[in-house]
Symmetry: C2
Subunit: 252 residues, 2 copies
DNA sequence: GCCGAGTGTCTGGGATCCCAGACAATATCT
DNA sequence: AGATATTGTCTGGGATCCCAGACACTCGGC
């Protein structure tokens, strides 16, 4: 790696601040990141001048500023995940002969952002732009299974938040917990006929550098074509490899 | 300013990328920012390693990455605007004897994030957390008046998006355009009895370094207490000064 | 009011890094 | 298929910057 230490330091500051619940004192920044005090103040000066950081004199702390928000907006606008994931999903579909998709969590739902339909296969409900309740889908189950339990509880505090489909799916927080525990035990998410009768899906999450799920990859197939556990496990392994590829591409 | 050129350069790259509609080639970055080519690749290497930027080999371009998104989330969580604006609003209320508030645009509505109630004044509808249709409020009018016309059209394409209150307020895109033109001519936003009968408000936008409205400051007063144009203009000038103070604090 | 801890600013020289330019690989154009 | 343009990698030395530490200011505790 080329030596660009000041660049590295300023990015460390930004990432550290991004992980904090609120603004922090300069001394805490210097201590946590192992930076010399004067260097910390120089870098904070630059970050403040460019709007990435705001100095809160009343609190004697530093927090993220409007330029940080604009980076988030820019990320959303540029949709790098979709751009990076399209080829790996296309290859997964070619290899397996089944339709693949990429979805992101959006509150209690998943939203499909890529669908790579296999040659000669019928269109599925999981078209781009479609939203479905996360607990019902392989993609949603894959992501929920790797969220902290408190985050899952926050999303689904009571039985009210559950939407059944074809009269199936978890209908209470306890049922969801059991389903997610089973998903973790199995090593991949599974959905059988709950979204579309006669079809099943396997899914795995795409994790960022902190282990947080940013998306999920899933493969959908007619149930009768892959009726046995081994066949599904094999498909799940390919899905997991694709998810890992996308994680690496997204980097960090 | 202390010399931290590499830090400055890396932040320039991030801000440039945040302003682009899509990913860009490294050569365009170097050219637009006046950076040496090798320096550009070194900094991009660092940005890619930390997840702020993703390299899209198929497109031979660079775009924003997940760490950029996390900065946006961190900004929202830390709410620096509210932290910075509280004291200026408190001082505005003390100086004028009227209730002040800070609101942000949220789609077609405004959301109130600070209310500083004046001593001995009745509570108002503009409590923290309340949402109201932007075209009806001084804060909303202040922000809409400085948005590009295309952005206003996108928010209010037809007569359907208008909500009247007390049977008053603009009820069509044309009426809204006339109202915003009048707001720009007057130099501040005005609302008279459309939100609460018997009360009026004056408001001005808080702009970021690009001239984009990130919030608005408004002052609400009983109509009969400030019936004349000069009195309202004087209050509006104080509101504008407070908005300018907050702009400077937010920086960039 | 005084003291100690923490915040923020400033300076200069030893340490190191930034950039010009060479080179290799890849993509596009003819 | 060959030529050209662009992308991406690498090197080393002149230029400059990073950090230790001193100093001033502010805030909180007693």
């Amino acid at each position: 790696m080329a030596q660009v230490p000041a660049a590295r330091q300023v990015l460390d500051i930004l990432r550290f601040l991004a992980d904090q619940a609120g603004p922090v004192p300069a001394a805490a920044l210097a201590r946590e990141l192992g930076l010399p005090r004067s260097t910390t103040y120089h870098l904070l000066g630059e970050l403040t001048a460019t709007g990435f950081v705001v100095h809160l004199p009343d609190e004697r702390r530093y927090g993220l500023g409007v330029s940080a928000y604009e980076l988030g907006s820019g990320f959303t606008r540029q949709a790098p995940l979709q751009r990076l994931a399209r080829r790996p999903l296309s290859e997964l579909t070619d290899r397996t002969g089944h339709t693949s998709h990429l979805a992101v969590l959006h509150g209690r739902d998943v939203v499909y952002v890529i669908e790579e339909r296999a040659r000669g296969r019928a269109p599925l409900v999981t078209d781009v732009g479609v939203r479905l309740p996360a607990p019902l889908t392989a993609s949603g189950r894959a992501m929920l299974a790797v969220l902290p339990p408190a985050a899952v509880r926050a999303l689904f505090p009571t039985a009210d938040g559950f939407v059944l489909r074809n009269e199936r799916g978890p209908d209470s927080p306890a049922a969801l917990r059991r389903l997610l525990a089973e998903t973790r035990r199995r090593g991949h998410a599974l959905e059988e006929g709950e979204v579309t009768a006669g079809f099943a899906s396997v899914g795995t999450p795409v994790l960022d550098h902190s282990g947080h799920p940013i998306a999920a990859v899933a493969l959908t197939f007619p149930e009768h074509e892959v009726p046995d556990e081994d066949g599904r496990r094999s498909l799940a392994a390919q899905v997991a490899r694709t998810a890992g590829t996308i994680s690496r591409l997204i980097g960090g």
